[in-house]
Amino acid sequence: MSSTYIMKRSDLLKLVQAAMDEYDIYGPVQRRTTWVFDKIDDPSRIDMDYDNTMMSLKKFFIPSKEVMMRFNLREMSIDDSLPDVKAERPQLLVGVHACDIHALLFLDRVFGGKYVDPYYVARRENTTIIGLNCIDPCKHGFCKSVNTHIVNEGYDLYLTPITGDKYYVHVGSPKGDRLLTIAGKLLREATDEGHEAFKASMKHKHESLPVGLHLDNINETFDMAWDDPIWARLGEECMNCGSCALVCPTCYCYDVADELDLSLSNADRTRKWSTCLYHDFALVAGPHNFREDPPARLKYRFYHKIRGALHDHGIIACTGCGRCIEHCPAGISVKDVVYELQKRRVGVPVVKGG
């Protein structure tokens, strides 16, 4: 059996401090009414009791805007940005919830595969993750309903809060081993007492996290629900603002554009976050728009995240983090929509709530 460790909660700050020479460190920090993953220069700013951050971790792997390559138009040469990305300082993300780890595992599938996205992969390889096991529910999340409340991989260290203001620490990778070395005496091997405390925390977690819906036959539900009246209703409420997609940890769609500099002799090929809610998302030359009507775009987003993700990657692209529910100005809840469809098509044996 691989070793697990115990660390005092307050010692996390010491670990972060000790890791600063080696990594750029990001962690949850309170800002006004919410939390953000912010650059950490002072470890005491880290708030491990955070509810959820507004933006997800995708910004560390697919920045909202990035230069993919530079063109020299006079020499007709291409300068790839990939070496620069690879040379970036290693980053350490502290306090990552299970749902967000699942989101990264999903993005790994999208940006891997037959064609690899080298920018994403370079950043991913350059990143170390200290996960944080939520043993109490957050305000809008429904991770247990979509089976993302438990992680089996995707972390380098994984911290579970246990009694006595301590963390029970799992190590998931060689990058985690590196952190162990940096931590030195801050971590000691867990004893039976620690194992028991971990079990108690997990029991508490299973009892405290609500289950509001289930995903049985979700593919078939979506195949049957194309003409469901729910889409017309939601289409009227949705403003196509794209907030849901921007805060979503798994929404990865992007636009590519060339930007000329003022000398007209150099250009950047950039990519920026896009969302399928935007009018020009499926607009082609002609012009012909394959999704001209706003409700068609809202419906498409649901179909891509559930049905499309299952087809392409075998898992749905909703981690139950609840960010889109919190930030939708029209009050549309993905959880409620899926619940309603499931109830109508396959019946729902779980009690609504949570």
Binding site: G113, P118, D255, V256, D258, L264, R269, S274, Y300
Partner: protein, 282 residues
């Protein structure tokens, strides 16, 4: 066998030079490119129906179907309509100018599976751009395929692309039947008038051992497929090449998603049976 050059960054285009530019119509021209790198030139090949991403540095990148056939190694031919930023810039290129090209992407047509079949091509307007690749592939391997019937429709006679092949080459090839129509009549036009489906009245098509291959504007598919079904074609034997917005070409940006499939990876060629299961496809 298709040899793919592996590369670390699939988004980086290879440099290619414009070798020849031939006007097809008022809006469309045929562009012939040659890769600068010897290795790329040697190993670059493709299936009919695949597409490439063409970059005009500083303007942008867009996907284009290949019009040439891999059976005729040499320049890569792309038939392109002038209709946006990137295509404007392509049309303004002079012979000798350099662009970026990466690919080929998408599935293309399975030419092996079509062996021994009779083939019915139905193209509308610049839908002929990808189908020309298939037709010329078959012309070069004529004995491997059965009877070829080509229906081609355009809005106006002057808007037809590849007129020389339509008029002089394909009709004279062995066991090829060629029919054309235009939506609007001109005094100089002696042929059929009407949308492309009117050609079903002119030419009796048997569905037996026949595969229909369709490409054209979005509005065309539904009507053509209806007529094919009436003739007894099965969904499996109707192949459609679909157009969507694409930015990456390699299944990442998600602009080309139709229902649960990606046009750039799973397509652009789909059977009608697949299309029926993909909502909003046609």
């Amino acid at each position: 066998m298709q040899i793919t050059l592996t590369r670390e960054n699939e988004y980086l285009p290879d440099l290619a030079k414009l070798m020849k530019k031939t006007k097809l119509t008022e809006m469309e021209s045929l562009f012939e490119f040659e890769f600068l790198d010897n290795n790329v030139r040697k190993y670059f090949t493709y299936n009919p129906g695949q597409f490439v991403q063409v970059s005009i540095f500083g303007v942008g990148e867009a996907p284009f179907s290949v019009s040439s056939t891999p059976t005729r190694p040499g320049n890569l031919e792309l038939g392109i309509r002038q209709t946006g930023n990137v295509t404007d810039a392509i049309h303004n290129l002079n012979v000798g100018d350099v662009v970026g090209i990466r690919g080929p992407y998408g599935n293309g047509f399975s030419m092996d599976k079509l062996c021994g079949k009779n083939l019915l091509f139905i193209a509308g307007g610049i839908g002929m751009v990808p189908l020309r690749s298939v037709i010329n592939y078959i012309m070069d391997k004529r004995d491997d395929y059965g009877k070829v019937t080509i229906f081609y429709g355009a809005c106006l006679p002057d808007e037809r692309v590849f007129v020389d092949e339509l008029e002089n080459v394909w009709p004279n090839a062995p066991d090829v039947e060629m029919h054309q129509t235009v939506d609007e009549c001109h005094e100089t036009w002696q042929g059929n008038v009407g949308v492309v489906t009117c050609l079903f009245d002119v030419c009796k098509v048997a569905s037996e051992n026949t595969v229909a291959i369709i490409c054209g504007p979005p509005v065309m598919y539904k009507f053509v497929v209806q007529d094919l079904m009436k003739l007894g074609f099965k969904g499996d034997d109707i192949l459609l090449s679909l157009e969507r917005k694409m930015q990456c070409g390699v299944g990442k940006c998600a602009h080309c998603q139709i229902g649960h499939k990606l046009t750039c990876i799973d397509g652009p060629v789909f059977t009608f049976s697949e299309v029926q299961r993909l909502q909003e496809a046609i």
